[in-house]
Symmetry: C2
Subunit: 427 residues, 2 copies
């Protein structure tokens, strides 16, 4: 039985209890979210982790993408990234490996990770076929479904499946004449295959078979956005929204058979279209959990896309997105390294927390209030303890020590807080 | 005559022409903005710089704060910061020095800067009095006005004057019972003085004299927000808004005598209150140019406040703020160094540009479109050239070169763009 089915029967599983405790919500609240499809608990029955929930009324979660590429295959580096992501307090990692022994890497990562692990099954299926037979177009439906089953057996907690890349939506995409047609790797693999064979996307055509396979392991589907815009000028176009509509239908279908699913979102989106993207997802996907990559809010800042995406992610989550996939500073330039992963998770947690304050997640602002009180008290040890990255800020302060130890070198003895504390004493 | 007065007479000054050319707007558009008080061109008649405009319909500008503190006095470091800010393409710098020979530093900075220079006169007045006579409370109205005149003569283009810290607003602030009473240095100097003497703020009481002094040099007033919230929990409270109302009145008064002014804004503001802050300024200050510090959107990320403020600044500017004061990663921890300045300017320019796309500043999105086309063409040299920080991104790419030189190590040969370009050829 899946978490949805347990909830339907009124049974609070260990995972439901864990999520309720972590979120300071009642078990009933969590069960209701699972039943309505507004919440997921991505946890494969074969993966031993502490559960976390994604969805309406819950804290905004943070995912870190890791994985090899065809150019850089180094399992030790990837395991360092797993470690870096967990230490920086990511809620989830995704193994996006496309180079080397993919079965071995996945199993190793699942073994090492104490947190939720997602992946994109088409990567392994397409890359193995391309490597063995020279081209992605030799991929078969059976090989794809077998790959999904193998990965599910191994314990993958959630899988990105680009089911909304259909013949009709692909035709609309081509008609749209975007600047960047497709920037989703999985979406591009499927589109290349579909254009060549002139056949329907097997993940769409055989969606019922997919549901049957993954349901056995209670794998959550992350309905992928193969047509997420990869350019600000392409954002929120007809092909993106058509795909979203299809994903909304598939979310409902999955829910109807007790399979958990969430919706993936863009991408590259200008600030003024972010609310539209959040609200259209909410509307056409009936409040399905929304999992967004970024969005980056300008195209012109490669090397700084952890920041362009923190801006977009904070805003999108404040309007209702439930999980943010980090974007590191390496995006659009190179494969990230462990330090990029660490920084990417911290920065995305900042965005998620800022959004949680805005959407009034119970307790979110308490952290800020504690910090502000420590500032008022000029209690530097407490400020550093409460910081999102205590070691970093300690080193920063250590590098520039003030003459009087209750202030900092920015204002020195002319610290506004110190002056006011004195002037307002006894008032 | 000030820029306002020239505009009123229908005379397009050299500065009005420069701003019109840079903004790709008509001279009439600029003159109309000056006359209505929705635009300023901060340029002292004694300072030789290329003019830039701040206000409605213009590109969002970026300011970098530099200056010594009582703890760190190093004029060479400050001149390196001037250089770093200009190289990173800041539109303005503010000399916030409070340590060392303040006259010498100001003159040196004015000499070195090819861009607009602002400052906060109360710093020098209060610090000199405190140093000489032991306490800020010995400051006199005459000394403050003399300091303003000296700085204006030297060529300061705009001055932050915390005129809205009045006996009535200060009483309201105390009644409010904030967590952080005052975090503005200038605001705290004035409040300490006013609480001790039980007298009105001289910058408010003698506002007419101030106007008379600075008008001779066409110094723009930046009406400072002494009560800007320094804690998320304090944002948008009654004392902040009372001060803003007073600033709106003073802006109108300045305009009536031909003195340019803009309004300063917060501070620490949660994401959901940013639109409120932008729109209340627009309303009660009758579209006066809005110059905001940050805002940071959470208190818990010292060491990362260049990012918390990029989130808030991008959003505030997208809702109408006209100039962003950067916040560096050193904020809340220590005095920034030249590298912090460089990074702070770049990050704030990213926020400003993302906002300019959202508020549809003519031509803003063209930069992104060019970048997206270079991406589509896998033209890496062009991508790097078009980047906001070309040298940095070149080094990043160089550190991880792909096997095939038209892609990057993130996806290697499985680059979605490359795959689609091939599949869609001839379509």
């Amino acid at each position: 039985m899946t978490q949805i089915e347990y909830a339907q029967k009124g049974i609070a599983t260990k995972q439901i209890k864990e999520v309720a405790a972590k979120e300071k919500r009642s078990e009933e609240f969590i069960m209701e979210g699972l039943i309505k499809g507004t919440m997921v608990i991505p946890k494969n029955i074969n993966h031993q982790i502490e559960a976390m929930g994604v969805g309406k009324g819950l804290k905004t979660k943070v995912n870190a993408n890791i994985g090899t590429s065809s150019d850089i295959v180094d399992i030790n580096a990837e395991l360092l990234k797993v470690k870096a992501a967990i230490e920086a307090k990511a809620d989830s990692i995704m193994d996006l490996s496309t180079g080397g022994d993919l079965d071995f890497f996945r199993r190793k990562i699942l073994e090492e990770s104490t947190i939720v692990v997602g992946n994109v099954p088409i990567y392994q299926a397409a890359v193995e076929v391309a490597t063995r037979e020279g081209s992605i177009i030799n991929l078969t439906k059976d090989y794809l479904l077998k790959t999904i089953e193998k990965q599910a057996q191994d314990g993958i907690d959630y899988m990105t499946l680009h089911c909304g890349v259909t013949q009709s939506s692909l035709e609309r995409l081509i008609k749209q004449r975007r600047i960047e047609d497709i920037v989703s790797r999985g979406g591009s693999f499927l589109a290349v295959w579909m254009l060549y064979h002139e056949k329907e996307n097997p993940l769409y055509e055989y969606f019922d078979d997919v549901l049957e396979i993954i349901k056995k392991y209670d794998v959550t589907i992350s309905l992928g956005d193969g047509f997420r815009p990869g350019a600000i000028a392409d954002a929120t176009d007809r092909s993106q929204i058509e795909e979203l509509i299809i994903l909304g239908e598939l979310h409902k279908k999955a829910l109807s058979v007790g399979v958990q699913s969430m919706i993936e979102g863009p991408g590259h989106v200008p600030i003024d279209q972010i609310i539209t993207n959040a609200k259209i997802e909410e509307a056409v996907c009936e409040n399905a959990p929304f999992y967004v990559l970024g969005p980056v809010v300008t195209d012109i800042a490669p090397g700084y896309d952890h920041i362009t995406s923190a801006i977009g992610g904070a805003l999108m989550a404040s309007y209702g997105a439930d999980m943010l996939c980090y974007v590191t500073k390496a995006e659009h330039v190179r494969l990230p390294n462990p330090e990029d992963v660490r920084e990417g998770v911290i920065v995305t947690r900042i965005a998620a927390h800022a959004a949680d304050i805005a959407k009034k997640i119970p307790g979110a602002i308490d952290w800020d209030i504690e910090m502000s009180k420590a500032r008022k008290d000029l209690n530097w040890n407490k400020m550093m303890e409460l910081s999102i990255d205590p070691e970093y800020v300690k080193a920063q302060r250590q590098s520039s020590l003030p003459k009087e130890n209750d202030v900092c070198t920015m204002c020195g003895k002319f610290c506004a807080i110190k002056l006011l504390n004195k002037a307002l004493r006894n008032r």
